[in-house]
Assembly symmetry: C2
Homo-oligomer: 292 residues x 2
């Protein structure tokens, strides 16, 4: 069994992007600038946005963090999105999800200019993904593909089972892994809460991807000997042995699954860092798509 180490792979990507920034500087080109809007004080969201800002620093991207109290009215947030759409100094931006219940997430994500939608959540970008047209790929699926590519995981002709059909991971990932590309050309099965005989289906998988947010959902008896395992889950579970009182837990029962498989992503340190790396790749791409 080999670890698919997202931290090391993401570190390699950051170094490449840092070189690209230096090259841009030498050529008098604009430095990519990512903005992030964070509403409220959710611990997970604070961590994710903090990691994104830090990645910008390491690479040499400019960044702007805009914070609102969780009582911010929807129209104020919408107005900020429109302002960022118009702001020529900002190349791409994200609104960290989830948002408070009184704000319509879809309305917000759809208000983002698709050309600055570096999270890849806008319908235009998802449609371009389906049609294999230029645009922003959603960050987590794109990070998973990048992780496989950079670790020489063969995908062509492989049976791939994805558990979980969310709009931001499972569903777009199923399309990206199935299309005629590299990575890609998998025979993808998308499983979900209504799937019957899940164990039987999973046992056929050369590549098994869990993205449901249920700790230890994938057990060893669901995994074929030698499979590649990608764990997208990051649930906080109580852990009183740690000062903060919790730790992150994936969707895969790592200890029992790891000995059976050829490759496996750890949690944390697998898909998470790759999601952030994808966001950075998209931010640079935002400039290239503009021809800048």
């Amino acid at each position: 069994m080999q670890l698919l180490d997202g931290r090391i792979t993401a570190e390699g990507i950051r170094k490449e992007l840092a070189l690209a920034v230096q090259e841009r500087k030498r050529n008098g080109k604009k430095i990519p600038h990512l903005a992030a809007i964070l509403v409220g004080n959710d611990g997970g969201s604070l961590t994710y946005v903090g990691a994104k800002v830090k990645a910008c620093d390491q690479i040499g991207f400019e960044s702007t963090l805009i914070r609102y109290d969780d009582s911010v009215p929807e129209d104020i947030l919408l107005a900020k999105v429109h302002a960022l759409n118009e702001d020529k100094s900002i190349d791409g931006f994200i609104v960290q999800l989830p948002l408070p219940a009184h704000i319509d997430e879809l309305k917000i994500t759809q208000a983002i200019d698709p050309k600055k939608d570096v999270d890849g959540f806008h319908p235009v970008n998802l449609g371009n993904m389906v049609l294999n047209l230029p645009g922003f790929l959603p960050a987590t699926p794109a990070g998973i593909l990048e992780l496989m590519k950079r670790n020489n995981i063969e995908t062509e002709g492989k049976n791939c089972v994805i558990i979980g059909r969310s709009n931001i991971v499972g569903t777009p990932l199923s399309i990206m892994l199935g299309r005629n590309a590299n990575p890609g050309n998998c025979t993808v099965t998308l499983a979900h809460s209504r799937t019957q005989n899940l164990q039987e289906i999973c046992l056929k998988a050369d590549i098994l991807i869990a993205a449901i947010g249920q700790p230890d959902f994938v057990t060893a008896d669901m995994v074929r000997e030698g499979a590649v395992i990608i764990d997208v889950g990051t649930t906080r579970v109580e852990d009183l042995s740690r000062a903060r009182g919790w730790r992150l837990k994936g969707d895969v029962d790592f200890d029992n699954v790891a000995p059976k498989c050829s490759y496996i992503t750890p949690v944390p340190g697998g898909v998470g860092p790759m999601t952030i790396a994808s966001l950075m790749i998209n931010t640079l791409k935002a400039m290239e798509l503009k021809g800048k």
Copy 2:
């Protein structure tokens, strides 16, 4: 074995739509108006567009058929698309594909206003489909779902295998059948030219859908006893016994597969009429989405 008769099902839809038109008339509302652009004289395209115009007549929709010689320059065609986008009398329109080689199909389909894109080919409509947002569903996949729904084919929890990953049938259909809806909630596997062990995969299918355009590709030994078979193929094969010299052939070896399955679509008379019915449903929807 029961035939899934697209002609009869489409006839029922046309009657419902005709009633909706009469209701609109009584209420002084606008009558839906579909326009179609046809370039050149391809026999298949002539037949399809003719059937669409005829369906409009039967329902009571207004229709406009715009024909160009196959030498028409791309910019003339684009200008017509823009004119139809602006024309308030036209509620929806299609550009019949394929187009001659000197015209960029993607450029044309992307120029269509998504609000008038009743074929559902525009990236915005495909993105809305992925996110389960209001918009136009691509006509052939939507027709297949409608055919199953109106013939009480249960989809929830079923294993569905789709062969062929085209942008207009296989790929969007895989998403539509997998999502949380009715019809939907299938566990979908999308197979294609790089798939290995296709026979084994097909034998697991409760619902098997062939959309590759290769006559007789699906043979009886690929079909599970009692499966539902949907045949999207319509290839013209030589048939000198007919005056026109050809007949339509599906992707399924009908004669040998039919005895094994619970339901099967004939070719012609299965998916084809449903595609046209979907286009009509979308044309009415174009008005409703506008709130007219």
